[in-house]
Amino acid sequence: MKEETYRLNCFVENRPGVLARIVGLISGRGYNIQTLNVGPTEDGTVSRMRIDVLGTRRVVEQIILQLRNQVNVIEVVSRRL
């Protein structure tokens, strides 16, 4: 399967340690994050992380499922760039 860039928009609880957990989950499996952008949402208790990763569809789907398993992750939406 060929590798492509996917953009993951993660809505997460705005708490210390959440960014590290998410970045760790991705990088700990050997995948390189190409772009990372973190910002607030209208709801001050929720942050949005926009993460671009390069990988096969299978791998990225797996990452998304594991992100959704995280206790502080509210939702993940993704699209291929």
Binding site: V12, E13, P16, G17, A20, R21, G24, G28, Q62, L65, Q66, R68, N69, Q70, V71, N72, V73, I74
Partner: protein, 554 residues
């Protein structure tokens, strides 16, 4: 409850652990948990002092595996916490519910390389389901409630609560929450009635179905349901290493035993020939599947698991069902037709016959692993809880002991952590208040990794038979060297025959012991070990050349 004048964070922690149902706390003290330890003597739960933090967490793990309730442990900051990493990993890989409380330096000192500071949330991230760094005493009750919820819902796992010392000292009025609200964590089933119908139809249409039970079956308390479905529809059941007992000891005719790398020929053959594989709470890891493209090639694969990220991760599946294994089995049961499948069961019977490994007696006349396991089995009849360490003895115990109940075979599967056996056996024995016989099956290598915990077995007078399967070597690795490295036994054979002298080691802890070297003395020695009132160490000198068979590589 109102906390008018308030109480310390340390006291709030103890009360919260009580409220969450803690019966036993395993732990080891230190400066940054001193306030909490000060409150422990007046707590309603029992405290057990381990001798190393790895041991404490393996004990909590053994307690959880044997009971299904979360194990709870406490350690100090820095080295106390770093000592727990292997044990956390073992619990994490096998999905065991556990709470670890760790002390931390005061918030104001975090990040300064203070004395005994460690980045606990950073270090434990990869070996825990979740972790918390508490920011104020007020957060403690809510955090404890959430930690227990997370540890036991969805796929279970260890949760770490790191509590800075100033938060233990501060006064708080916050109460234990009546209900738990987690904004983002709602593990839930996405299974539909259509999925259930499809599964039932697949089973009804299958001619050669196989049920495959993993650790998730035991976590769901579904062993009996597996057996019931197996009996009704005449479906043979195989298990994974951590799924042992998860087949509810299906009828003899339906039991395939262990599948995978060291699995029974009948189990592996049945999976290879099956037209339907119903996998329940398994992860399909590499020890099970071998080469994925060759795995269960003729079968449609149904995968039921509470963890959505597990489905389709290693093996592509035809039907994935994200749900509690027990819920699925009870729903599907009435939709599945009773069937005989005599032809299929007959085939399996013949594979079982032909697959019986003809064992040659050892050239040296030394005790064979099978003689030992059979002697143990004759005494326990599958009623004792067996905890193992990691290595050849672990696989022999898995293959050769009879397994009749779930939560009676405790073993580190995913992590394969040597040192697990002794403390896990202790945790299980403590869970049953010394009322239940426990057998620890140990290698002479792994027994040396956590031998210090024998002190706990002695102190608590636990009815544990510590069986050291002594082959004077790191047998599992030695076997691998024989097969793949042309017999170059580098660093795997111990030099002295009695080094250490395990009998002297036992006596240092005031534990009675025996050593057996000859098969004709085995029955009596095993009898003594398994009828002792307290702990007993039995050292069995087995054939050092004995191998684990089969060993399947694809």
């Amino acid at each position: 409850m109102a906390y008018g004048k308030g109480r310390s964070g340390a006291q709030a922690l103890v009360e919260s652990l009580e409220r969450a149902g803690t019966e036993v706390l395993f732990g080891y003290p230190g400066g940054n948990v001193a306030d909490i330890f000060d409150r422990i003597p007046s707590a309603r739960f029992r405290f057990v002092l381990g001798r190393h933090e790895q041991g404490c967490v393996h004990m909590a793990d053994g307690y959880a595996r044997a009971t299904g309730r979360p194990g709870v442990a406490i350690v100090t900051s820095g080295p106390g916490l770093t000592n727990t990493v292997t044990a956390l990993g073992a619990a994490y890989m096998d999905g065991i519910p556990l709470i670890l409380v760790s002390g931390q330096v005061p918030l104001s000192q975090i990040g300064t390389d203070a004395f005994q500071e460690a980045d606990t949330t950073g270090i434990t991230r990869a070996v825990s389901k979740h972790n918390f760094l508490v920011q104020s005493a007020d957060e403690i009750p809510e955090t404890v409630a959430q930690a227990f919820y997370i540890a036991t819902h969805g796929k279970p796992g260890p949760v770490v609560i790191d509590i800075p010392r100033n938060c233990q000292e501060e006064i708080t009025r916050s109460a234990y929450p009546e209900r738990i609200s987690l904004r983002a964590y709602h593990p839930e089933s996405t299974a539909t009635s259509r999925d259930m119908n499809r599964l039932a139809r697949l089973i009804n249409d299958a001619r050669r179905p196989v049920l495959y039970a993993g650790g998730g079956t035991i976590a769901a308390g579904a062993a009996r349901d597996v057996a019931a479905l197996s009996r009704k529809a005449s479906i043979p059941v195989a298990t994974t290493l951590t799924g042992i007992g998860g087949d509810g000891a299906a009828d003899g005719a339906h039991t395939l035993g262990l599948a995978g790398m060291h699995g029974s020929p009948a189990a592996n053959r049945a999976i290879a020939e099956a037209d339907l594989l119903i996998a329940l709470g398994v992860r399909f890891n590499d020890r099970i599947t071998g080469k994925v493209s060759q795995y269960a090639r003729k079968a449609k694969i149904v995968h039921v698991d509470c963890d959505p990220s597990s489905i389709g991760k290693n093996v592509p599946v035809d039907l994935g069902i994200v749900a509690d294994v027990k819920d699925v089995l009870t729903t599907v049961f009435s939709r599945v037709k009773a069937a005989d499948r005599t032809e299929w069961l007959e085939k399996i019977r013949s594979w079982r016959e032909s697959g019986r490994i003809a064992e040659k007696p050892s050239a040296s006349g030394a005790i064979s692993p099978r003689e030992l396991m059979e002697a143990i089995d004759r005494r326990t009849k599958g009623d004792a809880i067996v905890a193992t360490d990691v290595g050849q003895h672990q696989i022999w115990a898995a293959q050769m002991l009879s397994h009749r109940r779930s939560r009676h075979f405790l073993t580190s599967g995913g992590m394969g952590a040597m040192g697990f056996g002794i403390p896990a056996a202790i945790g299980a024995a403590i869970a049953f208040g010394g009322e239940k016989r426990v057998v620890a099956i140990l290698g002479d290598g792994g027994a040396q990794m956590t031998a210090q915990e024998l002190a706990v077995a002695a102190e608590e007078k636990l009815p544990i038979a510590f069986v050291v399967v002594n082959n004077r070597s790191l047998g599992m690795v030695r076997q691998m060297q024989d097969v793949f490295f042309a017999g170059n036994r580098a660093a795997t054979v111990f030099k002295g025959k009695y080094l250490p002298d395990f009998r002297k080691l036992a006596s240092a802890y005031g534990i009675r012991s025996r050593r057996v070297e000859r098969a004709d003395k085995l029955a009596a020695a095993v009898g003594a070990a398994l009828s002792a009132r307290g702990p007993f160490l039995l050292e069995v000198m087995v054939d050092p050349e004995a191998n684990v068979e089969p060993m399947v590589f694809r």
